[in-house]
């Protein structure tokens, strides 16, 4: 059975991500084993990798680096072996070259760009951005056809990729914000599919079937 490694680096909300992956896998004809792990050898064998994340960019990056061999195993599986990867919320932001939360901090640099504070153009809009928002996506296996769906967001920072060509979906919060990115086998979503009910579970299921 193919395995999905859900990276455990002390981030909250791991349980929700695990349960959502299992539920989404259950809707597919082919089973998937969900493994919550920070073990390099398990990650090396995994068929897919999901990186969750809540909290601050720098704290999450620190936590990844502190686990022996974790970043090396992830980088090898994703960047060298080309295994499908999904980053969620801060897990997506970590793909960037650098983040600016609590001062500049280098990210994974798997997708060039910067993570900056959300600054909605309208004064009445609050930060953090919390709630359901329309996500407009280009045609891609993660969203299937060009489509609009409603997903749950909770974030104060946004990812601005250097190459606009990697932006797969956008949302509007006092201006256009990056909702999803994809470059070859590496994808990320700013919203929380594991908290976005049917639409979110469907996206997770499509990730499990994605063959980049």
């Amino acid at each position: 059975m193919p395995t999905v490694a859900l990276i455990d680096y002390g981030s909250g909300n791991l349980r929700s991500a695990e349960k959502a992956l299992a539920r989404a896998a259950g809707t597919l004809s082919r089973g998937h084993e969900v493994v919550v792990t920070d073990a390099p050898d398990v990650i090396a064998r995994a068929d897919r990798i999901v990186l969750p994340g809540v909290g601050a960019f720098s704290a999450c990056m620190d936590a990844l680096e502190q686990r022996p061999g974790l970043l090396e195993a992830m980088t090898d599986a994703v960047q060298t072996q080309g295994r499908p990867f999904l980053g969620v919320c801060v897990g997506m932001q970590l793909l960037a070259s650098r983040g600016l939360e609590f001062g500049p901090r280098a990210g994974l640099d798997w997708i060039k760009g910067e993570v900056r504070r959300l600054e909605p153009g309208e004064d009445a809009l609050k930060v953090p951005h919390v709630g359901w928002n329309d996500v407009s996506a280009l045609p891609h296996p993660l969203f299937r056809e060009a489509s609009t769906s409603q997903m749950y967001f909770t974030h104060s920072y946004v990812f601005d990729p250097t190459d606009p060509g990697v932006v797969l979906a956008v949302s509007d919060y006092g201006g256009t914000i990056t909702a999803a990115v994809a470059n070859a086998n590496v994808a990320g979503v700013q919203f929380h599919p594991e908290k976005s009910q049917g639409a979110g579970l469907a996206l997770i299921a499509r990730f499990l079937e994605w063959r980049p």
């Binding site: 909250g12 909300n13 349980r15 909290g55 601050a56 709630g131 929380h192 009910q197």
Partner: protein, 251 residues
């Protein structure tokens, strides 16, 4: 714009929730949560009114069972006094933790939770009573204790400490069903940069529209009008949509 039903939970059982006709067990939080999801709730708030420690572990089990079955945002509050209390709730499956009395007495609790879990996890719940025009005082211990603190000052402190949202309850309006305190909401939503959730006073769908449109609230929370079926979630959302406010589509 979010509509958030609030369920009172005691010893892991829902004691105040909607008696949806489809439910086999109205006290079962999982059934309640699923029914609210199908009705279009944007989030759920569980308020733990348990006093005993046995009840607290039942609460954790209840959150876990709900989070395993419902893939929607869950906020939990009531009796959170330490970072460890918050951690246990989050580990069980809560997405946000609401802190009230303990945070008023020691705002560093907000900072510690925000540092540990991220500001999006921390809701500062503030119970207020009006003391004069344009001035509100913070009350703690479920409204039993006056603190002498100016509510706007405390809200500013909560923001500085890293709260992600403010759940603002008007004790003057709570249970009266005459509408949210619009002046209060307007004052706070203009003063703080983070989302303000309106609580206390909802009696109709139109009251929810007013809280958002006139009060500037980012979300509305209600318990008893949903509980007693006076207003349905779909009515609340239809009224908001009719007023031109952005709401999540009902499926």
């Amino acid at each position: 714009m979010r509509v958030i039903p609030c369920l009172d939970v005691k010893d892991g059982r829902v004691v105040k929730g909607v008696n949806f006709t489809s439910l086999r067990d109205a006290g079962d939080p999982v059934e309640q949560a699923q029914a609210y999801d199908e009705a279009g709730a944007d989030e759920l708030m569980f308020l733990d009114i348990t006093a005993s420690s046995d009840g607290r572990s039942a609460m954790l089990d209840m959150i876990a069972r709900t989070a395993d079955a419902c893939f929607m945002p869950l906020a939990v509050g009531g009796g959170v006094r330490t970072v460890e209390d918050a951690r246990r709730l989050l580990r069980s499956g809560a997405d946000k933790v609401s802190v009230n009395t303990a945070a008023v007495e020691n705002p560093q609790l907000i900072a510690a939770c925000a540092d540990a879990f991220g500001e999006q996890c921390v809701v500062a719940a503030i119970d207020v009573k009006q003391v004069e025009a344009g001035r509100w005082e913070v009350f703690t211990y479920g409204g039993r204790k006056a603190t002498g603190l100016d509510a706007l000052d405390y809200a500013a402190t909560a923001v500085t400490c890293g709260a992600g949202e403010i759940l603002l309850t008007s004790m003057d309006r709570d249970g009266v069903k005459g509408g949210y305190d619009i002046a209060l909401l307007k004052r706070f939503s203009e003063a703080v940069p983070i989302p303000v959730i309106a609580s206390g006073g909802a009696g109709s769908a139109q009251h929810m529209v007013e809280a958002v449109r006139d009060g500037g609230a980012s979300a509305v929370l209600a318990a008893s009008i949903f509980h007693f079926g006076e207003v349905s979630l779909s009515e609340a959302k239809a009224a908001m949509a009719a007023a031109g406010l952005p709401v999540r589509d009902l499926r």
